[in-house]
């Protein structure tokens, strides 16, 4: 999927902390109720059973977890590096390039890698990392470079070294913006991982693709509902983490 460029405005209140899980549980309940009222045929039973579903769910979570960790490990330091005075000149063209790259659809990157490098889990992770890098990179750069210059001057005036200023002042102040980027990257990864089934990397998209190809609505619906529930759960958890990790005083 393409990128929502700004974090969705959401506040943590007891109501919306609880509403999301209740809605998601209701969706799962409705799915279960729908499936239990059906006579599944052989082909459907091959896809709709606890073993298969959990395997695909696990593949999906693994794809998202591995690629998200890699994105954070690569994009945050890179973003910080690009805001240092020595590298500031290359920043605008790099961001411009990255913005053009954003127009390339996720399925395109996945298939391009599959055609040129090969298929499987590793290649899918590579594609996911490439797709989700931009929001974290951009938010890190924006977060660090928009820290109030007078605060940096004050910290330098107190005798802190540049490194200490970065670690103790600039990065903590940039945390909310960086976290917003990470949340977007997570959602992007859940979304792109749905398509990883086309390059033999599994995931819940397998159920959707099977449902479409074999024309089996129950499989299709199970896959789609579970994928949507997973995405909304990840977003909900990321929202909670975002609120919890925000440094106090901001």
């Amino acid at each position: 999927m393409t990128t929502p460029t700004q974090p969705l405005p959401r506040r943590i209140t007891p109501a919306n902390v609880l509403v999301t899980p209740l809605v998601l549980l209701a969706a799962l309940g409705a799915l279960f109720w729908y499936l239990s009222g059906l006579e599944l045929d052989d082909i459907e039973r091959r896809s709709i059973n606890a073993d298969t579903i959990l395997t695909h769910l696990w593949e999906h979570v693994e794809l998202v977890a591995v690629s998200s960790v890699l994105v954070i490990v690569i994009a945050v330091p890179l973003g910080v590096l690009l805001t240092r005075p020595a590298l500031r000149l290359v920043t605008p063209p790099l961001l411009g390039l990255a913005n053009i790259g954003q127009a390339i659809p996720s399925i395109g990157i996945l298939v391009l890698l599959a055609v040129t490098v090969g298929i499987g889990f590793d290649k899918a992770v590579l594609a996911l990392v490439a797709l989700a890098m931009l929001p974290v990179l951009r938010n890190t750069m924006i977060g660090v470079s928009t820290v109030d210059k007078s605060l940096i001057d004050a910290a330098r005036g107190m005798g802190l070294t540049r490194t200490t200023v970065l670690l103790r002042v600039e990065l903590p102040l940039a945390v909310p913006v960086i976290l917003a980027g990470v949340r977007i990257a997570l959602i992007l990864n859940v979304s792109s991982a749905t398509l990883a089934t086309y390059t033999n990397a599994g995931g819940l998209g397998t159920l959707i693709a099977t449902g479409v190809t074999l024309n089996r609505l129950p499989v299709l619906i199970t896959g789609s509902v579970l994928t949507a529930v997973l995405a909304l759960t990840v977003d909900w958890l990321a929202g909670l983490a975002e609120a919890a990790l925000r440094p106090r005083g901001i």
Partner: protein
């Protein structure tokens, strides 16, 4: 066969797919813009109404596109209809958000003046508030369009129209002679389409912005 030869031989097909791609995106954004601007005009200035509207339409963006296409197949079958409906659902949030933001940024003095001139609430909206908010609304429409150009590539997975077909052709022919050419043509086609639309929007902003705002 090199990419150049491939393009020379297949350009007619590629252009046709590109036109199909453009059509679903524009139809979807058009429908979404009408829905979103009406919805945004109704809720702007009333946080109790605008907050849930933004929360619900924003949540749509979280749902992976492949899953949303999948959920729409039981309702609309395969092909063009589920593709357009999915794209409409994705396009509503950016436009509604920008409509609300744009309308709420209209200075109260301007509204007072309009009221003093005897304009009713509908005419105030159509003649004063919407034209003033238009640049912001148009930014939302542009964002929605660019986003949809990318998402529409996935429509091919549910037999939808567009350049995504080339990408899935490439996938089906992995190891074959034209796998890379097909995929590249699909991917670059989508990127070029996005770039062209972005430029068109720059022109549209200049053309449609009220003269007093330029």
């Amino acid at each position: 066969m090199g990419f150049g030869d491939y393009l020379a031989r297949r350009w007619e097909d590629i252009v046709l797919l590109g036109i199909g791609h453009l059509q679903v995106v524009l139809i979807a954004v058009g429908i979404a813009a009408v829905i979103a601007i009406v919805l945004g005009s109704l809720v702007a200035g009333h946080p109790a109404a605008s907050r849930p509207v933004l929360a619900i339409t924003g949540t749509m963006l979280t749902i992976p596109s492949f899953a949303l296409f999948g959920l729409l197949i039981p309702l609309f079958g395969l092909g063009v209809t589920p593709s357009v409906v999915a794209l409409v659902l994705y396009a509503i949030f950016p436009i509604v958000r920008n409509t609300v933001t744009g309308l709420e940024a209209v200075p109260p003095e301007v509204l007072d003046a309009a009221r003093g001139m005897g304009l009713g609430s509908v005419r105030r909206l159509v003649v004063v508030r919407l034209p003033l908010a238009w640049p912001v609304i148009l930014t939302g429409i542009r964002l929605a369009t660019l986003m949809n150009v990318g998402i529409a590539a996935i429509a091919a997975a549910v037999n939808g129209p567009g350049l995504g077909k080339l990408i899935f052709d490439g996938l089906a022919r992995i190891g074959g002679a034209n796998a890379l050419n097909d995929t590249l043509a699909g991917v670059l086609g989508v990127a070029v389409l996005a770039l062209v639309l972005d430029l068109l929007f720059l022109g549209l902003v200049r053309m449609t912005t009220s003269r007093g705002l330029r």
